[in-house]
Amino acid sequence: MGETDRVSDLERRELLEEEVETRGASQWQLVWRRFKKNRTALFGAGILLVIVFMGVSAPFLTFMGVLPDPNSTIFLIDPPELGGGSRALPSIFHPLGTDKLGRDVLSRIFWGAQTALIVGIVAMLLSTIIALAVGGLAGYFGGRVDAGLMMVTDVFLVMPVFLIMLLMIKILSIFVVAGFGLWIVITVLGIFGWPQMARMIRAEFFKLKNLDYVEAARELGASNRRIMLRHILPNALGPIIVVFTLGIAYNILAEAGLSFLGFGDASIPSWGWMINMALEIVSVQPWLVLYPAFMIFFTVLAFNLMGDGLADALDPRLWR
């Protein structure tokens, strides 16, 4: 083994890595092309664009005075002629009316989009980190590590997760200062949302670690960390993204469910809470339930459509 051999090994490794990366790139182009052809998936992406726009624009519109402050109950003192007051009917000043506390419903719908997206995405990011650690290590190392980690995963899969989430939020909200309630919800959703994804990642890593190019990289002396992050992970990305997208949909539904039961953060505009608050008068003013309900429905639908579309585009055979 001379010095020259080492150099050529290095070069070969670089080449090999380049090949893997270019293969990745062309694969993503193909996926994008297939995704573009899928009309329902594009419809989902369209809805999502609107929701994202609502969430992002909410603070600006409020700052500019187009939308009233979603938490301000000042309109209670608005005379009813100006559309103020508690549970006012729709008017020019409040296009969707006001809620029980006299807050503007349209503004809360816009701000709710932000809440839903933050909860869905941040909680899923947390879940993904846990799932990558657990599933990746289990799949890559196998043996005892795998057995132990999968045991933990199985415990999480069979426990009545939603009930434990409720308990955890109840307990945590005793300690945490008001205003951080949303972060409790996000943390709890993140902590319990990983097991299915971890199983999927484990299976992917298990499959990929035995492929030729990974073995080659290993023989060339790449470290475990490098192999996992640079060689296996990029190729497992497809299914991870699909599960990630569908997971966001699940999180948004779960947050709505938690808020509906009164286990969310009342101080932040959330669609679930809006339903909770409007419930007592649903028979008189059903639209106060209807607006947030449709927002939840369309947001979840958008993520579901996109998840299905991505799954189809990534591997039309495997998923259908």
């Binding site: 045991m151 426990m159 009545p160 997760v161 005793i174 509906f260 028979s283 339930v289 429905f297």
Partner: protein, 335 residues
């Protein structure tokens, strides 16, 4: 004989797996609850002028003056004797409270699950046999709407339409009950009337639950059937002159059911976990409804008991599903 010993071994192994899971879940729950602090202090937080004597007595009564781990072991010891403790809120033994709650939850969830599976198979098979027909488009769209709609929204509007509006429209002559599992005076009913009354109360929650469950399963049955209908063995069955019904419902469906069976194991866990929401919407007196009440009252023994019994139910369901799996797919040997 060999079959039976193999089955026994399988059951034993699954039980051995289930025990640590049960401990894991209960210990996590216990740790969470006692992280919150002294339940007596929390319970009495709104009550001024309480003497230390009363607090001490209460703490001693609920064994709260002992270390946390000792309390857990005491609890564990007790549940094996059928004693689940005394509810802080109802002031009666949790075990006796729990029985009717469990029955109500199982009654609703399992019947909705069974109905959903049967309907999903019928509808899903039809959809798969007529892909991209108008009926199929309708089914797949409804399924997508079903998985995207929060169940409580469906419940709320179900109640609004079939209970309240129907009540108004018919002047109170015909409507579905909005809450509860029985009429208030059901104890005085003769048996046939008792059954009819119970069924009548189940209609609306069943409708909503079945629709939501179906939305999940229809997609699974449809894609499974689409795949199996293209398999060579289905073509071979047709080539043997078998009738279409036999080809579809025997040869194709049996294979398409394999992924469904696996999925139902997971689905049962999600169904039970969703109980708090559905039961709150319909004020259904089951485990989920009382769990939410117990959380709001910080009724720790009830919280522990509900989580424990649901964990046991889910574990049992999983063992049953795994056994069925071996029957449905002969390539998997159970044991």
């Amino acid at each position: 004989m060999i079959e039976i010993t193999r089955l026994a071994k399988f059951l034993l192994r699954r039980l051995l797996f289930s025990i640590p899971v049960f401990f894991g879940v209960t210990i996590i729950t216990w740790a969470l609850m006692y992280a919150a602090g002294d339940p007596v202090r929390l319970m009495l937080a709104g009550t001024p002028y309480i003497t230390q004597d009363v607090v001490d007595n209460l703490r001693h009564y609920y064994r709260l003056d002992r270390p946390v781990w000792e309390q857990y072991f005491y609890w564990l010891l007790n549940i094996f004797q059928g004693n689940l403790g005394t509810s802080f809120y109802f002031h009666s033994p949790v075990a006796t409270l729990l029985i009717p709650w469990t029955i109500e939850t199982l009654k609703l969830q399992l019947s909705a699950l069974a109905l959903a599976v049967i309907l999903a198979i019928i509808v899903g098979v039809y959809s798969a046999r007529h892909p991209y027909s108008i009926a199929d488009m309708g089914v797949t769209t409804m399924a997508l709407l079903g998985v995207s709609m929060p169940i409580f929204v469906l419940g709320i509007f179900g109640l609004l339409i079939f209970s309240q509006s129907l009540h108004t429209l018919t002047n109170g002559l015909f409507y579905f009950p909005a809450s509860g599992a029985h009429a208030w005076n059901y104890r005085s009913f003769p048996f046939p009337l008792f059954l009819a009354d119970a069924a009548w109360h189940m209609v609306l929650p069943m409708l909503v639950l079945t629709f939501t469950f179906m939305a999940l399963y229809v997609r699974l049955v449809r894609s499974g059937m689409r795949e199996t209908l293209q398999q060579d063995y289905v073509l071979a069955a047709r080539a043997s002159g078998l009738s279409n019904i036999k080809v579809v419902y025997k040869h194709a469906l049996r294979n398409a059911l394999i992924p469904l069976v696996t999925y139902i194991g997971l689905a049962i866990a999600t169904a039970f976990a969703g109980a708090p929401i559905t039961e709150t919407v319909f004020t259904w007196p089951g485990l989920g409804y009382y769990y939410v009440q117990a959380l709001n009252n910080l009724d720790f023994p009830v919280i522990m008991a509900v989580i424990s019994i649901l964990t046991v139910l889910i574990l049992a369901a999983n063992i049953i599903v795994d056994m069925t799996y071996g029957i449905v797919d002969p390539r998997i040997t159970v044991g």
